[in-house]
Symmetry: C2
Subunit: 321 residues, 2 copies
């Protein structure tokens, strides 16, 4: 049985898995991404995790290749380029280093695109050929599947929906632009909205006792569950902005469904209604009946691991043909 | 030699062509779309045009099928649905009627998607697998090619870039929404901008002597060539808004190029610089070097005719396989 090593390099953790060609997740592992002092020290730790995972495999399993999902993956140069959170890996020939170490083909893909592929392989998008997966985490990730293929663009960097402009001249984004969607509709965007609302309104709120640095999306979520008016308004505003921009995606792609995943998506009860209302308001009327905004059926990060694994098996297929 | 009948049904004219399988345009014809009193009277006129075109063909040519590009084509039901300009054709089984009349398979496609396919077949997008074609006419049409396939969506209605929101709560669009891109970046949008500028500014302008009903994009173009400040500002504003929204397309698709076509595109000298500046300002910095906004190399409407023809030949291929 053929097996893929699947890796999802995030800003906080690096997740690994062994996935067989029936997309059964055999074994998993995880390590922090940062704090190693050097690229080689980080990579050696990843290599050790892979060896440990592989050592537990039966003899009838054979590792066919490695698939890596990362932010800012340039699939042409096979390097990470311009990543803010994992800048130590920028412009490093990481696929070559994996290939030297393990002697198997290694592919790179943007994490948002990997997650979208994974949702189609094992998640709620199975059988769909036109769908979109949005990851609402610290930032906003996205993968767009068109006629059965994930939109990768010239360098594999397509799908950066987090950086379409939601508000002209709006909030400063880490990317350098102003008003990017992810400055509103992400865990960090939600917090910024809470602070804006605390300034604008005079309603009491549990959140007024927490500093910007200390406030987490989880605290906002818990406040909302207790009926805190600022927290509830923040979720409502976040949902509406998201919906308004999802309308653009519906107008451009007419997808069968848009799936939400990531930490913030687990609080969808608090904002999904506003999202659907925002989308309905902004969409071309002929699309109104086709808006399907759903929650991903996979655990956060699993989708990206399945998607990264698919690079190995799809690559094999191409080679065979 | 196999031949396709290619039809482009526009709000003003219906264009027809015979196209051979090497995509040589053999013969062309044209008729007004409106003013027939009934669907069957219109269709009979189209049928007569086809018969006349076909009667001039050599015996070694054989008509394989018919491809029709129209606004609001639902490729699933094979009917036009919700079209404002050609509403008399809405919900009519037109492909069935063509098939009954000529006994060959008839396919439907959105005109913007047809034009995008055509640009790839005979135009400047040959050899590209990720590109976008924008038609700047009375409205704004669009076709998006992703990994070699035109994005059609669930019902074939994807790519309505003219109806993404350019300005929240902005200009009233015929579709019912407010602030749609085509209310700014189209021949009619340009005129609306001229009237807004005449209200806002006190500069003299040749255009102040022309009523809203009488003003054409051509008059604005000619005024701009004479240095009219309102006309020049209107083109500049149009270009900038277009660029700001093209930035979203670059961020979502990372295309090899975005092509402009249609009447307004022939005045690109007056707005392209503003378009590129608007796109550069709004795009994720990692994409800045990849912005290529170019003018289509095909005559207006030709692209859609080639694209509609490709439905016939591609359909044949699928049947053969």
């Amino acid at each position: 049985m053929k097996v893929a090593v699947s890796i999802d390099i995030g800003g906080t953790n690096t997740k690994l898995a062994l996935v067989d060609q029936n997309y059964q997740l055999l074994r998993r592992s995880q390590l922090p991404t940062l704090g190693y002092g050097s690229v080689s020290s980080y990579l050696n730790t990843v290599f050790n995790h892979i060896r440990k995972l592989a050592s537990g495999l039966d003899r009838n399993y054979e590792i066919e290749g490695i698939g890596i999902g990362t932010p800012c993956a340039n699939t042409r140069t096979k390097m990470i380029e311009g990543a803010a959170n994992i800048s130590f890996l920028n412009d490093q020939p990481i696929t070559t280093l994996f290939e030297s170490e393990f002697g198997v083909p290694t592919q790179l893909i943007n994490d948002g695109n990997a997650a979208a592929l994974g949702e189609g392989i094992k998640g709620a998008a199975q059988g769909m050929s036109n769908y979109i997966l949005i990851t609402l985490g610290t930032g906003l990730g996205c993968g767009i599947v068109v006629e059965g293929k994930v939109a990768q663009g010239v360098r594999g960097m397509a799908g950066e929906f987090g950086h379409v402009i939601a508000q002209k001249g709006g909030r400063q984004c880490a990317c350098g632009a102003k008003g990017c969607l992810e400055t509103y509709t992400s865990a960090s965007g939600l917090k910024r909205t809470v602070f804006e609302l605390m300034a604008d309104l005079d309603q009491e709120s549990i959140l007024r006792s927490i500093s910007f640095e200390q406030m987490s999306a989880k605290q906002i979520y818990e406040a909302a569950l207790k009926g805190d008016p600022i927290a509830l308004k923040a979720f409502d505003f976040t949902g509406m902005i998201l919906g308004e921009k999802l309308a653009d995606l519906v107008t451009l792609f007419e997808p069968q469904a848009i799936f939400l995943t990531g930490g913030l998506a687990s609080a969808a009860d608090l904002f999904l209604e506003a999202t659907i209302a925002g989308a309905r308001k902004n969409v071309l009327p002929i699309y109104r009946s086709t808006i399907h905004i759903l929650i991903s059926s996979l655990a956060v990060n699993e989708a990206a691991l399945y998607g990264a694994a698919s690079l190995v098996f799809e690559h094999q297929k191409q080679v065979v043909l």
